[in-house]
């Protein structure tokens, strides 16, 4: 009797014990999961959430801007800055000097840093935004502002003149840096970082140029040449869709996906222009058009003399890398003995084009692409072009990439051999890349040579602008926008030898 009742009691007790344990397990497990859920849901709050939690007593100091503020990072950065500045100087010098060399305009024979110190004021990060636009990638946008006091002295050598030290003063940089992290399934989990400056809002780099122990006017157009170099580097290297891809050590990964690659071909026929402005005192303008997507690859039409309604009817082919963000830029110039003057500029965003469809478009010529600062609303005529866009297939893409590399290589060689002044001016190369085109510009070999020779030609970039050195703004848009940003072309004939470096 005792045995059975004991056993019964034991069984009941044992089962109860297990039931209790199970109950405890479930309770604790639920509690942990609930906590995990709570913490997760609190990890990214927005205004409405917080309003709901806090009700009446919403903390005043909290706001939710699109770009999240990072005061703590700024505090740390300003503390760290003297050390960063020290460490970065050598690196910047080593990495930027070759760039300057590649992009320098034909008028300058050498451009080097003779002094580079980043100053005492740290850049400020206005905000950070993190998005995941594509699977396996994190896109981080950093709103960066730097009104620093760096001391940058460029030693510039131009033909005929020995080295002139030029100081870059009052540098201000406002830009949004986009960093894309390509994720990988191996530590450190990031296989490559892509860095670029966002095109929208446009990067703004302001600075003042000052010649030390002399005057900038010693070399006419020098400041414009420097501006052009800086703008070209920015628009052609850094500004989205152009980018810098940095593979992060350790993980063998194919970064070619991330690189900017030729995406398609644009066949553009520059048909005619109407009602161009007359810039000549005697006779009419001698217009020609320059067409490009990247400033490194420019093509040019022939010059039609003494005509305000020129018909060129010339066809070129250009490579597009990123249809979504790139634009076709067409500038019309008046050929002149001295400085060629711009009659107008037009921009056609490639996104407006349909692939495989030929289209005739009439564009209004503007004094500048940066209309914010230009008051001149006068009509500058129109330009008619025919555009045809074709997407590359993979093979063509590779071929185009190779071709592009080859051309740049070749130009570099030419430059070393001294045939042309700069990588920037060999339009013929670009033209031959795409088969057709009558491009023949360039200080070294182009129009200006016959007159004064390349030496003086170097100086030709515009006496008209010699007076305006201060307070220039470069909006990273194009060479051309800058050019008229600093000087509105109102002057007429100039008795200045040499051609205009493009």
């Amino acid at each position: 009797m005792g045995l059975i009742s004991g056993m019964l009691m034991g069984i009941v007790f044992g089962i109860a014990l297990m039931a209790g344990w199970q109950h405890m397990m479930r309770y604790r497990s639920n509690k942990r999961i609930a906590k995990a859920v709570d913490i997760k849901s609190l990890s990214s709050l927005n205004r409405d959430d917080l309003k709901k939690i806090c009700g009446e007593n919403f903390p005043e100091w909290i706001s939710f801007p699109v770009f999240e503020q990072v005061k703590w990072l700024n505090k740390q950065l300003s503390k760290l800055w003297p050390f960063v500045a020290d460490a970065a100087e050598a690196i910047i010098k080593d990495s930027v000097e070759p760039l300057l060399e590649e992009y320098r305009p034909p008028g300058i024979t050498s451009m080097k840093f003779s002094k580079l110190s980043l100053g005492t004021v740290a850049p400020k990060i206005e905000g950070i935004r993190v998005q995941s636009l594509k699977k396996g990638q994190i896109t981080m946008d950093i709103d960066l502002r730097w009104g620093g006091d760096p001391s940058i002295i460029l030693a510039i050598e131009a033909a005929l003149v020995a080295s002139i030290p030029i100081q870059l003063k009052d540098l201000k940089v406002f830009t949004v840096v986009r960093a894309i992290f390509q994720l990988a399934e191996e530590i450190p989990c990031i296989s490559a970082v892509v860095v670029a400056l966002l095109a929208e809002p446009k990067p703004r780099i302001d600075y003042t140029l000052k010649a030390i122990g002399g005057s900038l006017t010693a070399i006419p157009g020098l400041s414009d040449m420097i501006d052009d170099t800086v703008t070209s580097i920015i628009t052609d290297m850094l500004q989205w869709p152009h980018r810098i891809v940095v593979p992060i050590g350790g993980i063998p990964v194919d970064t070619s996906e991330l690189e900017l690659k030729p995406q398609g071909k644009i066949k553009i026929t520059v048909l005619r222009a109407n009602n161009l402005k007359n810039k000549e005192l005697i006779g009419k303008s001698d217009p020609y058009a320059v067409v490009y997507i990247r400033p490194l690859f420019k093509v040019k039409t022939k010059v039609i003399e003494n005509n305000l309604n020129p018909v060129w009817n010339q066809t070129f082919e250009l490579i597009a890398e990123d249809k979504e963000t790139q634009s076709l830029i067409i500038e019309v110039f008046d050929q002149d003995v001295g400085q060629d003057e711009r009659l107008g500029i037009a921009k056609l965003p490639l996104i407006e084009l349909e692939a495989g469809n030929s289209k005739e478009i009439e564009l209004r010529l503007l004094p500048s692409l940066d209309m914010l600062k230009i008051k001149d609303k006068k009509d500058r005529g129109t330009l008619t072009i025919q555009v045809f866009y074709r997407q590359f297939n993979e093979e063509e893409q590779l071929a185009a990439l190779e071709e592009e590399k080859r051309i740049l290589e070749e130009r570099k060689k030419l430059k070393e051999a001294g045939v042309i002044g700069s990588t920037m001016d060999a339009l013929d190369g670009a033209a031959s890349l795409v088969g057709s085109g009558v491009g023949m510009v360039g200080t070294g070999i182009g129009a200006g040579v016959g007159v004064v020779g390349s030496g003086l030609g170097a100086f030709g970039s515009g006496l008209s602008k010699a007076g305006k050195f201060m307070g220039r703004t470069i909006t990273g848009q194009s060479n051309a926008s800058k050019r008229s940003g600093s000087s509105t072309p109102v002057n007429s004939v100039q008795e200045n030898g040499g051609a205009k470096p493009l």
Binding site: M1, W21, K35, A36, K40, L42, D49, L80, I91, T120
Partner: protein
């Protein structure tokens, strides 16, 4: 009889309870799902007030405290990265653990141990706020609040004696408040030499440990005991002021400290080329280390001499003998106008054997640019004697470990050395010009820093030492920020941008004080001065 039945009852109870436990185990626990589900996260907007009430307990610190910064962008970053991190970490963990397991199991007569499941789950750690501290020292301090309430699943399958058991860790939760200090700051990337981590509070750890499906941590009392054990263990190792240090850079190299002294004896030059139209040139030699910011040293000018003998000795501090070189330029002195360069050459420091004097005869070149068309004209020769003396290893490491150095041996007993380091100033404003430098006056002795041009927030980082017979208990140090015009002119002469008198008794007691002082006679000006009192004992 009653006794007998009681015994039987007990036995029955014993048998019963074990049967009961087994039945209970199969009834309630065995069929419990062992897999870890992803919890459903509902948006806050949908939650009722009751669950919101529960949330309040976990509200991030940046909501509550204005001194914490929100770093939700980092949370977002981590969230996107988490699946990748999860795989990477698990893969690495497996690779590390497997050999260790293989080595250990034969000892315990276990057939095999393997990971049946290893994942960190879908929930990433979250930062609930970031606080940073700014001190006068060369360090960055930040305190993120880290909460990881994850749903990892780590299942170990153990086979022994033909039986198989599983051990599973689930629902790991770790809440910690680490303090991350980056120090010292150094002028080479990544700009700090060490990461020092310590926990400001005991961390909270919670998890479920399922052995054969039953969660041991739910046994009342055991959980608390284990939690306390873990907390204490971790606290013993990393609770502030105990730290975990990770060295990133070798501080000696990173600091770019001097590593040796180069003794240069400029003996003579021979057959220099004539530069002056009338009579011979007046040569002198300038020496410096390439890319160093220190001013170059000069010999005396030997007038009207193309074969001058100087026999002058110089000592130059060397920071990086591997990549630097000694640069020598011979100039022609002129009464008026620019001094002409007569020739130049360099001696790479790595060519020198330490502690061994070497006499060198150098041909003078027009310039150092290799690419430039050299004109081969003979410009004369320069004879030097060079000795490179590296500092001893011990001296240097001693320096680093202890920021408070001892006074040199020749200090008088009872006395010591007062070191004044002028770091930087902020918001110093002059009426007409802003080219500040600092003058410090102590016992009538005056020292000056270099002038920083056109700067409201100048940095000097200069060190001055005063040798004293006795501790300066009653003395004061006068620190003054001055500005002079860069142009020569009597219009706006020297002006004072502010001054401060620092009593030195505190320094003697504290050995070292590093503080920002408000400047008197200045609007908002502040100056950071570090004072040290070094004694020989």
């Amino acid at each position: 009889m009653g006794f007998f039945s009681t015994i039987l009852g007990f036995c029955g109870f014993g048998v019963g309870i074990s049967t009961g436990l087994v039945i209970g185990y199969y009834l309630f626990i065995y069929f419990q799902p062992c897999d870890v589900k992803n919890p459903v996260i509902r948006p806050l907007a949908e939650q009722d007030s009751q669950s919101l009430q529960r949330l309040l307990h976990e509200i991030p610190l940046w909501v509550k405290n204005p001194d914490y910064d929100r770093i939700d962008w980092l949370n977002k970053f981590l969230e996107v990265m988490w699946p990748f991190l999860d795989k990477a970490i698990c893969k690495t963990a497996k690779n590390i653990a497997n050999p260790i397991i293989a080595e250990q199991i034969p000892k315990y007569k276990i057939e095999s141990v393997e990971f049946e499941e290893l994942t960190l789950g879908s929930l990433p750690p979250t930062f609930q706020g970031m606080k940073v501290f700014v001190t006068e020292e060369k360090e960055l301090i930040m305190e993120p609040t880290l909460k990881w309430a994850g749903n990892p699943n780590v299942t170990l399958g153990i086979k022994a004696f033909g039986l198989k058991a599983t051990v599973q860790v689930v629902d790991l939760q770790i809440f910690a408040q680490p303090r991350i200090t980056l120090k010292p700051l150094v002028p080479s990337f990544p700009c700090f030499a060490k990461i020092v981590v310590s926990l400001m509070e005991k961390p909270h750890v919670d998890f479920g440990l399922n052995v054969v499906g039953a969660d041991l941590m739910s046994i009342p009392g055991l959980y608390r005991f284990v939690q306390e054990l873990i907390k204490d263990q971790v606290a013993n190792m990393y609770l502030w002021p105990k730290t975990l240090e990770v060295e990133i850079l070798d501080p000696t190299k990173a600091m770019k400290r001097p590593v040796g002294i180069l003794h240069v004896k400029v003996l003579r030059a021979m057959k220099l080329r004539k530069k002056d139209l009338l009579g011979a040139s007046d040569p002198y030699v300038k020496l410096k280390i390439t890319e160093s910011k220190a001013p170059s040293k000069k010999t005396a000018v030997k007038h009207k001499n193309l074969n001058p003998e100087w026999n002058e000795e110089f000592s130059i501090v060397v920071k990086d003998p591997e990549s630097r070189a000694l640069e020598l330029i011979v100039y022609d002195w002129e009464q008026v106008g620019k001094h002409d360069k007569m020739g130049t050459n360099v001696v790479p420091l790595k060519e020198l054997t330490p502690d061994e004097p070497k006499v060198m005869t150098l041909d003078l070149l027009k310039n150092l640019n290799q690419n430039d068309a050299q004109d081969d004209k003979f410009r004369g020769q320069l004879v030097l004697e060079l000795t490179y003396k590296p500092f001893k290893e011990e001296d240097m490491s001693k320096d680093l470990d202890n920021p408070l150095q001892k006074a040199p041996e020749e200090t008088p007993p009872g006395g010591g050395v007062l070191v004044v380091v002028v770091h930087e100033a902020q918001d110093v404003e002059g009426k007409h010009h802003n080219n500040p430098y600092v003058r410090i006056i102590f016992k009538g002795e005056e020292r000056k820093t270099k002038q920083v041009k056109k700067n409201r927030d100048p940095r000097w980082e200069e060190e001055f030492t005063f040798m004293l017979e006795e501790p300066p208990l009653k003395e004061k140090l006068h620190v003054e920020v001055l500005s002079t015009s860069t142009r020569i002119g009597l219009l706006h002469p020297k002006e004072t941008l502010g001054y401060v008198n620092i009593s030195l008794a505190d320094v003697v007691n504290n050995k070292r004080i590093n503080e920002k002082y408000h400047l008197i006679d200045s609007k908002n000006g502040k100056i950071q001065i570090e004072l040290q009192w070094r004694t020989s004992s």
